[in-house]
Symmetry: C3
Subunit: 159 residues, 3 copies
């Protein structure tokens, strides 16, 4: 039978899922609009980004990734949309994980064409600090890369 | 400590976010499927759409925008999908705002090709009337347009 | 005035919507990653998929659809992302329906190009069994097919 305590616990879980969706919305806006510091601070201080070609740890490395003039993000800055879809989320207190896709669309430098640029498979770990959710670890692999899609999205199978 | 009143307030906030997602789903279906009047009535009576090239106010102007035989929507009607993603929502009583992307994909008139047609950055203001959420104002700018992405999505930075 | 019973009913509705979003996330992961049995078991035992060209009923037919070496899914397996967006959901006890889009993006077999492959209009019926949501029926039509978009997404108009 429902009590204030059981209802609050269930409500908190739904609020946490909203907080995680917001964290990932922040990620996309900050990446596309060139808010480097906000993007890096959306990870925990020990945050990790593992993209097969890069393994970044902590604020300075994450910030450097976005600011690198020859980096992957600078190449599409202000012409891109990162789009997070199909989120599958599990919360356990102040930690959580999610799996889902993040698609990047890009407008050409010249002309009016837009195209599908990347299709990423993702597993994220999150931590809640002072009521706000942050990315603790992001593992990303590109669809169709050799062995790219084997290991990243799998925890949902066990729930 | 939780009370019925505090739990109901938190629950109402989550229900309002669902209502806002529904309002934007209605927008996409009505636009793509040619439901002109339903599309225009999904705004408040004083509803505004600001797209850089157009500034529409109120039901008649909004309706005219969709019905215009030489307009931007008629050009892609029944070949398009509008797709709203990365929603960041804030509710305050019977008003709310959201920021996020709306991507348009279009199938060619002839042939079997589909392409990315538009990538819009959006700030929406909403009002709740008789329990249902409506768009009071939509500001939209295209990704990659000169100055297009500077000002539209920014309120999320302050939350 | 709010009671534990009314709050729990409203909370349950939100949890059910989350469960339906999860069911559709499972659909996309299983389809793209080649989890045939999990994909077929994500329907109820009498589950139906109606795609205009195919009318599949029950686990064996659904499983066969994905495993068919000359089928539509095998053709894009491990190169695709299915993406469910703009969900409009209504729950009634242990049944529910949703309407929305499912877009498929595909990476070319050779080369590094990615493209918009399909844009599907969908009406889903769901059933909750032992606390988990399953697809009981999926009706899908392709945008821009003759008569494709007339009848599938319409129930949202009446809510």
């Amino acid at each position: 039978m429902a009590t204030l305590e059981t209802l609050e616990r269930r409500l908190q879980e739904l609020e946490d899922r909203e907080g995680i969706r917001e964290c990932l919305a922040r990620y996309t806006f900050n990446a596309d609009l060139g808010h480097y510091e906000e993007w890096a601070r959306n990870f925990t201080p020990d945050g990790v980004m593992d993209t097969a070609t890069e393994h970044l740890v902590g604020y300075e490395q994450l910030l450097g990734h976005l600011q690198d003039p020859s980096g992957s993000q600078k190449a599409i800055e202000h012409r891109s949309t990162h789009n997070t879809v199909n989120l599958f989320i599990r919360v356990a207190g102040d930690t959580a994980w999610a799996e889902g896709y993040q698609l990047i669309l890009v407008k050409d430098v010249d002309g009016d064409e837009r195209r599908v640029y990347r299709m990423g498979l993702n597993h994220w770990d999150f931590e809640k600090i002072d009521g706000r959710w942050f990315i603790q670890k992001r593992i990303r692999r590109e669809v169709g890369q050799k062995a790219g899609d084997e290991d990243v999205i799998k925890d949902y199978l066990n729930t």
